[in-house]
Amino acid sequence: MKQEKKKKLTPAQYKQFIPLYIMMIPGLLYLLVNNYIPMTGIVVAFKKYNVNDGIYGSPWNGFKNFEYLLTSNDAFTIIRNTFLYNVAFIIVNNIVGIILAIMICDVAHKSLKKLYQSSILLPFLVSIVVTSYIVFAFLSHENGMFNAFLTSHGQEKIFWYNTPKYWPFILILVNCWKGVGYGTLIYIATVSGIDGTFYEAAALDGANKWQQITNITLPFLIPSVITLLLMSIGRIFYSDFGLFYQIPQNSGTLFPVTNTIDTYVYRALISSGGIGRSSAAGVFQSVVGFTLVCFSNWIVSRTSPDNAIF
């Protein structure tokens, strides 16, 4: 099959692609230096590292560096948390992002539209530590605004930082607040790229707003959604350390619902790191993510080949 394809192109036809290859050089070179060469350092996860022999020369160590992570009693909890939170984040952020994007694009008033567009990205600018201060301002047991509200209405104070059941919601909310602007912006760019004549034609045919959205806007968004989904699936075993460590203020009672692979690794290696063991976690996350992505990409390429990433 590949042979056939090749034969179809004559040398003259190849020539037209040369500019494209030249254009790709800087980007590919950068990926080589920034990503591929350091990537060979992955072997350190299987080594007993010492600085004299270097990354490649150190003796092999098998899977010993992975033990602390995978034999732990918390292994199930941290993998479950990482996975489920990411699934929730992907679903919530994408749905909210699409809804906001469609609404913002439909706003008729120009300067209001601008205001909405600017404001959704603002939380993205706030560092996670500062975000944790803001969350604390609301949830603090002693001085928090929520507890002040509760006590002034004759309710009991809630010990937020010691009550695990609220935290899945709080974390999903905070993550959405902070991150939704990013996806929304991508969707806004896509929605505004849709040819306006489609809508005009639909309106002439008497399609209402909802029908226009489901029949025109959403189908146009599908490629972007699939691309974003595939990319997030690759990182499904990574977690934003700050979100799970700083926002719950490192509170022990909350570990069952806030402990993820990244926070676990941090706490386990806080006093005695060693680059072998710290990269073991990264290798684990990458391998699982890679497998999942290849699998999902395979499914996508079977159903709609145009949308597959590779």
Partner: protein, 520 residues
Amino acid sequence: MKAKKIFATLMAATMAATVLAGCGGSSGSSAGSSASAPASQETASGEADTSIDMEGEPYTVNFCYLVAQEGADQQKVNEAVNELTMRELNMKVNMIPMTFGTYSNQIQLMLSSGEDLDIFPAFAANMADYITSQYIVDLNDYEPYLTGVMDVMGEEDYYAGTVAGFLTGFPRMQERGYPAGLVVRKDIFDELGYKIEDFAGIRPDNWDDYQKVTDLFAAVHEAYPDMVVLDGTVSLGTSTYAWTDVLSDTFGVLENYGQNTTVTNWFETDQFYQLAKLHRTWFENGYESADIATNTDSGEIKMKAGNCFSFLLYYKPNTAAEKLSQTGYEVEVIELSDACKMTTGVASAVFSIANASKDKVKAAQFLNWAYTNGEFNDLINWGVEGLDWVEDENGNACYPEGVTAATCGYHNDYGWIYPNQFAGHAWVGNDADIWDQYKVYNDSMMTSKAYGFQLDTTPVATEIAQLNTVWSQYQKDVCFGILDPDTAIKEMNDAMYAAGLQTVIDEKQKQLDEWLAAQN
């Protein structure tokens, strides 16, 4: 065509990878060759020539140290240090100041990449990794060059940094014990009619004594209902150095200030239960801040803000003077435990020589000098004399006229993490004989039977990593009394045993027995 391209890409990647490997290897091998042969200056007779080379090309020592914040006068301090070392050692110093927040990341990167580095402060918890990764050198090999350190430290403390026969580094000159204390505001304390003598002799062999503290809290809480009675980040249960010899990490300890030699699980002892129970009472009665388990601001900050009566800490001879300048309040210190000298406390941070050092003999000579030279210790702590500090009539250091804490270009007050603060000046507000007081204090305290023993954590690294996560899950909630100790301690212990606590205890006992046998 396609295959060719892939091949070419792979080739390029491999070549580049070889470059990377080469760099790691080459810097390593040069370090390796000199590591095994410290005798670069050995004479024909085999006797080491320890004299300082004042003639040759000056060697540049890369000296990493911790600072409170980087001041504007850093460059001037570096120049002054250079002038001093050129005069005394024919060496130059490249000072690499780091703050605590960035230190652990940056030092790890510098060490693992083999970057130029001679001397740096290393923390005990990392030692096993530093030794297996060959980041540091065994100082036993350089003993002839380190006689000055021996004189300053005394033999006992000189060897405190030994892990399985490998001398990792030297402790700093500071207090040697860490007893628990409660700092209380003197104005309120006096107003309510208390006297510090009433609180003398509170020790963990009689738990009823601690009721006095609870009663004090109750009285303050009644007189000032809006005030947080106890705040800060320290609890009795997390002040582990104050009760037992913690043998590195508290996972298996020697009870009774290390006077036993059987390794036990401290979290199952009555002592730990009683400490948690005390906090439970304080928490339930509202003496502690409701946010205490998640709070990250120190007791000093809380007290300075004016709404906090007391906080816990490890006290030392000049605690009261120090807290006055830090909080703006006169304080009393209620002692809650005895002081005990144990390896983990003394060697918690040591100055080590990095394997990446290009001339380890010269690095050792510099380190030796750093422990004996008062001028150097003053320079790195207080800055340039006349510019950042001056000597007052008592012989203490203080700000020059017109200079304040806000305008001073270099001021660390970090004597405890520098080689030898005792050789330099103490800050104004301390007694003139403060360093003598320290020496008396250090000599007077009891010593753990395992003093000098340090656990080699390599065989149990996996278990310790897992125990760290369990401890970090429970420590604040149990020790601050957020959870009911009657159920939570059991739960914590179950989690600890599941994470391999018994394996760690057994390993500790084994290594300790071997060490004890070797002592006799």
